[in-house]
């Protein structure tokens, strides 16, 4: 176990020293602030827009990290032959692979938590800088007489304390594992838990593809699985409606419809159903977010299965 964790820690270090990660994190911060901006464009329910866009951005960026950092995961070790000296140490190949998996998952976990923290901060800032809140703060200062001579300074002070307060409150939301949450950040921690469950599945595929193919191909394949997994449920429903329209038989379908039908049926049975981990509608509506035992079990069992396949392949291959 400690050996696996050593591999995981090293993988974490490798990922943390990868420039792609920082580019993606930077973009996530941009998008999260952009969500705030977008919400101001709405005439109704801006909270929905900001929560929706924010949680989706965290989900997408984590997926991109999984794909772009995950693909080089095993391949880089094979390509640079660093694996020679690792595998010749007293560890099993499965330990190596599982270590890699845990390491990348840990990297994504840290990133998801950072992004959620940034997002909570954005929400707190958004809350602090509503006209109402700002005005109230200014009135309070007027009452205490602080605003009279140094009004601009007092306003700046309000801005500064708001920013610091938002950052601290956001950190508290994350560090308390979601137990401390203001109404505006309700459910966001559980949302990141769900995102992590989804990432468990995606990273297992990244490990699988990375263990036998080139980075470009495995990036493509992993992204493909992700995309299919996300649209899987809808694709299946589409196929069902096609079937209903065609009168219950594929014979009356045209070629493209039949292709969609069979592809959907096939992928529905093979590809992961990532829709299970999607509770954005609840988050957007401030409804309680639930990490169902079903989703939890599915995420663990599915990724364990994929890792098992990866190990089966990996234990049988020659290192170039």
């Amino acid at each position: 176990m400690t050996k696996t964790l050593a591999i995981a820690l090293n993988t974490f270090k490798e990922a943390v020293r990868n420039r792609v990660l920082y580019v993606l994190l930077f973009f996530s911060v941009l998008i999260l602030f952009g969500a705030w901006l977008a919400s101001t464009l709405s005439i109704e329910r801006p909270e929905r827009i900001v929560r929706d866009l924010g949680v989706a951005a965290i989900n997408i960026i984590s997926g991109l990290i999984a794909v772009f950092v995950g693909i080089g995961l095993v391949y880089n070790d094979l390509d640079k032959k660093t694996i020679y000296t690792v595998v010749s140490k007293p560890i099993s190949r499965w330990q190596f692979l599982v270590g890699k998996y845990i390491g990348l998952l840990g990297t994504i976990l840290v990133n998801v938590l950072i992004m959620t923290w940034v997002f909570c901060t954005v929400l707190h800032l958004r809350d602090a800088f509503t006209d109402e809140a700002t005005n109230q703060a200014i009135y309070r200062q007027l009452e205490s007489g602080a605003y009279e001579y140094k009004g601009a300074l007092a306003h700046l002070g309000y801005v500064a304390t708001s920013i610091i307060g938002a950052v601290l409150k956001g950190a508290a939301n994350i560090l308390s594992l979601g137990f401390y949450s203001t109404p505006i950040t309700e459910g966001l921690f559980l949302a990141s838990v769900l995102t992590m469950l989804e990432m468990m599945v995606i990273v297992s595929f990244a490990v699988l593809f990375s263990s036998f193919s080139t980075p470009t191909l495995s990036a493509f394949l992993t992204a493909f699985v992700w995309v299919i997994g996300k649209g899987n449920q809808e694709l299946y429903l589409l196929a069902q409606s096609l079937m209903k329209k065609a009168g219950g038989t594929t014979e009356t379908m045209d070629a493209s419809q039949e292709l969609i039908y069979h592809f959907a049926k096939f992928s529905a049975h093979i590809a992961p159903n990532l829709e299970l981990f999607n509770q954005r509608p609840q988050i957007a509506d401030f409804a309680p977010v639930v990490v169902s035992p079903m989703a939890l079990a599915y995420g663990i069992v599915y990724s364990a299965g994929i890792i098992a396949i990866s190990v089966l392949i990996f234990e049988r291959r020659n290192f170039k």
Partner: protein, 333 residues
């Protein structure tokens, strides 16, 4: 002497699957391209010896080592290390390995790197720290503890590679071309290290394509060519039993001595009034040296020349070709 490494009929055939086109139409079909990397290798290495695996590039040395390290799977045959199958974790606990032209995680510093590897051995605590510092100074990297590996020169990488292969104080050390890419001083240091390992009672199994690396330290060698083992034995047995040459360089010789040397030499080279004579008989060389000692000229140099590995290869391979064509002799010693 007990056998610690044993290989029985090891063979490795690389099968490469290639996508093929047929009649100009894309018809995916796998064509097998076979390449024999190792053929029926049987070797035993005894405890405490320095064993050299020699051969030109592409002979199968690295393949052999990878199979022993569990990085490759053999197509046929068996191999055991200390009586256990290769790839067994209990075996890996007691061996060290340095691959050819090693690459390591270059984002780690020297100490981080060795710490990581030590963790893979299950080492921990103060002992680990002490062992790492000790090894770093042993391989002469005491100054580069906290430098990232990306800043290491090729020689330094080779040294830290040696350090990682010795982390667990192994009983057998496998070194794949340990001296390649090193300057003459580096080569000497590696040679000294290998000898000191032997002194500590460790077994060293290393590969090289340069004979001079091997001939001074190896107890025994195996010579590979195109995946086949063409000779195994002490290097002295393999080479010194063969024709030796005695090379005498001199200047300003007496007329009689010059004539004598020219007559008896197998080859004779003159450059101004400097002369180089190569004799095949020890008596001839002795006579000339005696003459020179009597003041019949100045001795510039004397080199008893053994057969080189390259020459050995050429001879053995020609012999093998002759064998293949049906009228050669058995190359096996």
């Amino acid at each position: 002497m007990s056998t610690v490494i044993s290989m029985q009929g090891l063979s490795k055939v690389y099968v490469q699957d290639v996508l093929g086109f047929e009649h100009g139409r894309l018809k995916i079909r796998l064509k097998n391209r076979r390449r024999v990397a190792l053929q029926n290798l049987t070797l035993d290495v005894a405890k405490g010896e320095i064993f050299g695996l020699l051969g030109p590039n592409g002979a199968g040395k690295t393949t052999t080592l990878k199979i022993l390290m569990g990085l490759h799977f053999a197509t046929a045959g068996t191999a055991t290390i200390m009586g256990r199958p290769v790839g067994d974790n209990a075996v890996k606990e007691r061996i060290g390995y340095l691959p050819e032209n090693p690459h390591f995680y270059d984002y780690l510093t020297g100490v981080e790197f060795l710490t990581f590897y030590a963790q893979l051995y299950g080492m921990s605590g103060a002992g680990r720290k002490r062992r790492i510092e000790e090894l770093m100074s042993t391989v002469g990297l005491g100054h580069a503890l906290d430098l990232p590996l990306r800043g290491y020169s090729k020689g330094m990488i080779q040294r830290i590679g040696l350090a990682q292969s010795l982390l667990n104080d192994p009983e057998i050390v496998f070194l794949d071309e340990p001296q390649s890419g090193l300057d003459p001083f580096g080569r000497k240091e590696v040679r000294d290290l290998i000898l000191s390992l032997k002194e500590q009672g460790k077994t060293v199994f290393f590969s090289s394509h340069i004979l001079s690396d091997a001939e001074q330290i190896c107890d025994r060698v195996a010579i590979l060519h195109k995946g086949e083992c063409i000779a195994v034995g002490p290097l002295t047995d393999l080479l010194s039993a063969k024709t030796k040459e005695y090379e005498v360089a001199f200047s300003d010789p007496a007329e009689a001595l010059l004539d004598d040397a020219r007559r008896r030499a197998a080859r004779f080279v003159q450059r101004k009034n400097e002369y180089l004579a190569v004799f095949t008989q020890e008596a001839d060389a002795r006579d000339i040296l005696k003459g020179l000692a009597d003041g019949k000229g100045h001795l510039m140099g004397f080199t008893p020349r053994k057969e080189t590995l390259e020459e050995y290869f050429i001879r053995e391979i020609e012999g093998k070709r002759a064998l293949e064509s049906g009228n050669g002799r058995n190359a096996q010693l």
